[in-house]
Amino acid sequence: MTWALLITAFVISTCGLIYELIAGTVASYLLGDSVTQFSTIIGVYLFFMGVGSFLSKYVEKNIILTFVQVELLVGLVGGSSATILFFMFEYVENFRILLYSLVGIIGVLIGIEIPLLMRILKGQLEFKDLVSKVFTFDYVGALLASLVFPLVLVPYLGLVRSSFLFGIFNVLVAIWTLHLFRKEIPWLNSMRTIAFTLVVGLTLGFAFSEKLVKMAETTSYHEHIIYSKSSPYQRIVITGGKRFKLFLNGNLQFNSQDEYRYHEALIHPALGSLPEAKKVLILGGGDGMAAREILKYPQVESITLVDLDPALTNLFSKQKLFIELNQDSLNSPRVKVINKDAFVWLRHCKQKFDLVVVDFPDPSNFSLGKLYTDTFYRQVKKVVNPDSLVVIQSTSPYFARNSFWCVVSTLESVGFKTIPYHAYVPSFGDWGYIIAWEGGASDSAGFQFGHHYPSGLKYVSKDSVASMLDFPADMKPSVREVNKLNNQSLVHLFEAEWDEYAETF
């Protein structure tokens, strides 16, 4: 009996310290600056343990029942603490208030536990024995927790599952106490029912915590998710209602409200200058929006669209909502969709095109960075004629000006002549494009915009294109580098530049 209760002291002190460590780790993950997080959390936690100890003196009747209730509460709150913190991070205005309240609540409850336990034991041990034994077990438990946490729990179970696991331990202590004192506890059966329900709930949480974490991920979109699918290549998420947004791997690809600006600026300055263009190639652009703009030109006979992901092109050729937006472009007899890796496809391509549209996601990682290298543009060069044009979406010359001009330099390094331009797309900001062409040796006159635009454009016109060509001083580069497979300069620049903005906002 005495031993049983001493082991209880051991278990609850282990659990208590684990919750503290979990809160500290989650806070360092989410807020950074681990020194601050850990020291404030330890401080708050210890202080509230003191508060708990103080409050324990107001418990006068039913000490054992209160002890059990406290255990159950600790199990519930502590057990789900990691999940609560991860989940609420996206929703709560001031995360720190939630964090410290949670730590405070757990602290108070743990603070009540040990004094209550000592009072339960006082009839069975002499005072000096009581104090010595309870604290011995308490501190040994703390040592165990502090070793097990970094060595076993974090690497093998992860934070969410660890916290559920220790919640279960707390509830088991409650159940054990109920059993030991089953003769003298009021409401025994209802307490038991609550305890078993909690065990089941926490076990389910433990078993399905992976799913919970995934759910927490999807909450990071601000709007209602109307479609989401993980293809083998990427995660496709569409949010919104009447107006919607497409995200690939969490990055915004377009907003139906202003995508026309992005796609008109991508296509018309180039294609409006090619009255003879018959064959067009689109690399990327599986949403069919670029194809929609190109289909406005009657002289274009065929569009070849190479996009890796069939999940995306199927979505935009079959779902009513999206067909309305891209005007069913992907089902046009003039459009041929090929689901292959653009680079691999280009290497085996024997055809030539009058216009090539390169519309890949931004070079935010090393895989995508390869699609902006000199090696890639050399492959593009193989599929164009001297008077063909290439147009490339190339990130924001305002937010990432060195990245933008790095793409320009890379194109020029393989012998393309270039005209950089930019357009304002509210959802994205000021966005950059580059027209590139091979040109012959005699092509000294440079490129002239033709301005043969189809009717009904909302954004591109002769006047707006003129304004797109002007780059003010804050969009000029400070370094010019060529992006190669073996240096990936662009990704390094891009990371540095967008990080800067992520920090300022």
């Binding site: 290549y233 990427q234 890796d341 653009a342 000199d374 497979l485 990936q488």
Partner: protein
């Protein structure tokens, strides 16, 4: 407070007993459910492959015998035994010289030797050698082959090569997991004390100095191939001490630096600095002077299947000359010809080949097992072969659903964990250019059994259960990627009982290697064990040199 007491229910009630039983059953069931759910590793299939040992051991035991009356199946001018880089390079050179009357015998079902590779539905992957550094100016055969295979695209007037940038290792090339996070490059640079930093800088200054030094004979101190190195006593003396002694002598004692050197000798020679000659240890760093117009000096070329790429290209060129699954068990050097017998591993038929010249392009430890000496003559002493050390390795190819996350910089081609016994892993799909962000991949994990004597290592290599290997490999990888066990689809183990040759003290510039360099009547040798350093350049050099020798004897 009344004590709770058990006195009135010492006998367990029937209902309590049943409840207990049900409770136990539920607990057991839940436990099993959770265990299966989280012990994902138990379901991961592991396959043990590796170079064929059955026939190899039959040769060693002498259980294969040639019938003295066996007829000659075929006569050729040159017979090459061994389809690794040395043997293939010998064939490549013979063909270049217009000699078509030759045959190449390979024990395995596929050529490759230490540059073997495999392939599954995800990717091709290496089982051994996996990269080649930019070729030095003096590595003329390498440059010749590189140009022929399009690895070098153009060479300008000053001799600077432009490499095919699809083959140059893409950035990020290397990363090191140290202090809980990945850093760029393999030389430790996180969390160093100033004096450690200074020592690492001093080390590389010494290396750069060696790299640029020339001996009084005008040759570079450290050349590739190493036979073109200076013979100045100042440099050769380094061969008589171990890399560990050299470090101590030069007051290098910073732990991160010692780890790095230890990693490098294990990586290139499968042995610890105490077991590697200082000359070889320094050669690893100071030998590379290759330059390219479109890459930095320390760049390398690599392919999904590693050096298996070059093997495939050479094999295509030599296809009509190659016989695979041919286990040679009998070589007899006569005055006018060399008689070689092999057994076809599939049909189990024996063939006898008579050749004017033999190029023996296998590791030398095989020679005493297959060479049948003429009893009437004074026998040739082959005991020196025992001095050549081939440490054992374990190479594991692990197929992943995708690369697991890790802290620190983004995934690189070569990924190493600080203070691990393994050499980390390389990513087979690193050279792919794709719009997909995460896709299945194969990683190749290298583990030299460098901490024990080679024979003990070989015993450990084969004795351990594949399941144990799986566990220890995954455990090691989990230091870098705590969740990797949930990404693994399958594991292929490829144990190398005799891996690359290792340059022990005095091996490179001592007597043993001199003996390996000598011909045996009509037998010419070609293998990187004649260099003491096992890499592509040395193997190819030995192969080409052997072919040149044979050509001279033919005409």
């Amino acid at each position: 407070m009344p004590k709770p007491s058990d006195s009135d229910d010492t006998r367990i009630k029937r209902s309590t007993f049943l409840k207990g039983l049900i409770g136990l059953a539920i607990a057991g069931g839940t436990g099993k459910f959770l265990y299966d759910r989280y012990n994902t590793l138990a379901h991961v299939p592991v396959r043990l492959l590796g170079p064929s040992m059955d026939f190899g051991h039959m040769v060693r035991d002498g259980s294969l015998k040639l019938d003295p009356n066996a007829p000659v199946s075929k006569k050729v001018k040159v017979l090459i035994i061994g389809g690794g880089i040395a043997g293939l390079s010998a064939g490549w050179w013979l063909k270049k010289e217009g000699i078509e009357d030759f045959m190449l015998l390979e024990l395995e079902g596929k050529t490759g030797g230490n540059s073997a590779s495999g392939e599954n539905r995800v990717s091709a992957y290496p089982r051994g050698a996996h990269y080649i550094p930019l070729a030095n100016a003096e590595s003329t055969y390498v440059r010749m082959l590189f140009q022929e295979l399009g690895i070098i695209e153009t060479v300008d007037a000053t001799g600077i090569a432009t490499y095919n940038d699809l083959y140059l290792c893409h950035d990020p090339e290397e990363r090191l997991f140290k202090d809980g996070s990945f850093q760029e490059g393999l030389v430790p640079n996180r969390g160093l004390r100033p004096e450690e930093k200074a020592e690492i800088e001093r080390f590389f200054k010494v290396i750069v100095d060696y790299r640029n030094r020339r001996g009084s004979d005008g040759k570079p101190a450290f050349a590739i191939p190493l036979d073109l190195s200076s013979r100045d006593e100042e440099f050769l003396a380094l061969d008589k001490m171990s890399m560990e002694q050299w470090l101590k002598q030069n007051n290098f004692s910073a732990r991160p630096l010692l780890w790095y050197v230890d990693y490098c000798t294990r990586d290139d020679y499968g042995a610890k600095p105490a077991d590697v000659s200082a000359w070889a240890g320094i050669h690893y760093f100071a030998g590379r002077r290759g330059r390219a117009a479109n890459a930095e000096q320390n760049a390398v070329v690599t392919w999904p299947q590693g050096n298996g790429f070059v093997v495939q290209k050479l094999t295509e060129k030599l296809a009509s000359h190659i016989t695979t699954d041919a286990c040679v068990f009998h070589i007899e050097s006569k005055a006018d010809a060399v008689r070689t017998a092999y057994i076809d591993r599939k049909s189990r038929k024996t063939f006898l080949i008579e050749a004017d010249h033999l190029i023996f392009a296998c590791p030398r430890f095989i020679l005493p097992r297959v060479l049948k000496q003429d009893a009437s003559k004074k026998s040739i002493d082959l005991d020196y072969v025992k001095e050549v050390v081939y440490p054992p390795w374990m190479v594991a190819n692990i197929t992943l659903r995708s690369l697991p996350p890790a802290r620190g910089i983004a995934r690189a081609w070569d990924n190493v964990c600080y203070l691990s016994d393994s050499l980390g892993y390389v990513v087979a799909t690193h050279q792919n250019i794709s719009t997909r962000l995460s896709s299945p991949t194969v990683i190749t994990y290298y583990y030299p059994l460098a901490d024990r004597r080679p024979d003990n290592g070989r015993m450990a290599l084969y004795r351990a259960d594949p399941e144990d290997w799986k566990e220890s490999i995954v455990e090691d990888l989990m230091r870098m990627h705590p969740t990797i066990d949930r990404y693994i689809e399958s594991i292929e183990l490829w144990p190398w009982g005799h891996g690359m040759v290792s340059p022990g003290l005095g091996y490179i510039w001592g007597d043993t290697r001199q003996k390996l360099l000598q011909d045996l009547d009509r037998i010419v040798f070609a293998h990187s064990d004649m260099s003491g350093i096992s890499n592509f350049e040395e193997s190819q050099y030995r192969g080409v040199e052997a072919a040149i020798k044979v050509k001279a004897q033919l005409s």
